[in-house]
Amino acid sequence: MNPPDYEYLRKVLKDNSGLDLSADKQYLIESRLLPLSRKCGLPGISDLMQKMKGGSASTIAQVVEAMTTNETFFFRDKVPFEHFRDSIMPEMLKARAARRSIRVWCAAGSTGQEPYSLAICLKEMSAATAGWRIEILATDLSQEVLEKSKAGIYSQFEVQRGLPIQMLVKYFKQNGELWQINADIRAMVQHRQLNLLHDFSQLGVFDVIFCRNVLIYFDQETKINIINRLARTMEPDGFLVLGAAETVVGLTDVFKPFPDKRGLYQPSGARPASGAGALAMPKIAAMAGR
């Protein structure tokens, strides 16, 4: 991809999704946009760029979607789900004993592997949660991705990464080479389209937020803004789970690391530094014309 096209793509992504494409992501562009070019009936990525520059809103939307869809699999990294089962849930079952309800938000729910992994965790501990109302909300930027999540249908390849075979047998129905997660697990997850750059205070307050492997795509200012707004949408004794390569340390002090549990944070009670995170990203939202 030539430098002007790269700069153009970078700006479009930044304006529309907040994705901060560094200069070394040539491989990512090729692996994501070449298949999309073909899908659009175009010979190559440069033709796709031309179509975007021509003002095709649907092409721009598809490019943003293709570039921001993350790789995900069931029980990805394993540890966060152990935290959920062994630390977060026992804590919450004690703390919420009076109201017997817990709200969980997967802020980058993607194609459903993460919210359904949480639903499976909850199913496995159903003796302890009988009579509780536990809500799992999965949001994602991409409508296409959410549709896949809702359907809960996965390829043979997808169900073989992260999912122990016993769980595949227990929680999925086979249909040829495809596997669909059982209806009772699907019913545990609600879906909603959401851009993290925009205001999300309308979602209400959560006890647990999984926000994994999405902040890494944003620049520093955007990261801080989102983390600060996450803190405002969380109970004071709630839990935040970040991806293994992510941290709030050095960015903001509204969350503090949970002792000895990597990737797990709790609200610190501190207020965000002046103004940061008070509002959704107004500049970017305006530029994106939304």
Binding site: F73, D77, K78, V79, Q156, F157, Q160, R161, G162, P164, I165, Q166, L168, V169, Q174, E177, N213, I216, G243, A244, A245
Partner: protein, 129 residues
């Protein structure tokens, strides 16, 4: 170094599996059917067995039944790796003492994921994207 016995009647599959497993620091022994594989196990139990289902002479399921009855035969982690991808086969394999199950086609990512699942490979720290 852990040893993995690869049991498959296809020399191509064995070669692919060997390359992946050696890359994961396993010492690889090959067998082309269940009888051949039992001979290897009698000599020395491997830590892992990557096991095809359909093979001449003795199939993977029969091998597994024999293995689990041998002295020390409960030790190896057995991971099926087969084109038999029906839930009936999977259930039968688990009931027969298999630890994990790979539906072909497979690649390195799947082998790593399944071997981690049964504790043959350490969970690695995820690398930043």
């Amino acid at each position: 170094m852990k040893t993995c016995l690869v049991v498959d009647d296809s020399s191509i599959v064995r070669k692919i599996a060997r390359r992946i497993l050696e890359g994961l620091n396993f010492q690889v022994i090959e067998a082309e059917d269940g009888v051949d594989a039992l001979v290897v196990c009698k000599r020395a139990m491997p830590e892992a067995v990557l096991l095809d289902w359909n093979m001449p002479v003795m199939d993977g399921y029969d091998f597994l039944s024999h293995l689990r009855r041998m002295p020390g035969g409960d030790v190896p982690k057995v991971v099926f790796c087969t084109t038999e991808n029906g839930i009936d086969h999977i259930t039968r394999a688990i009931d027969g003492g298999a630890n994990e199950y790979i539906m072909k086609p497979f690649d390195k990512d799947i082998i790593v994921a399944k071997f981690q699942e049964v504790g043959l490979i350490e969970w690695s720290e995820p690398t930043p994207v």
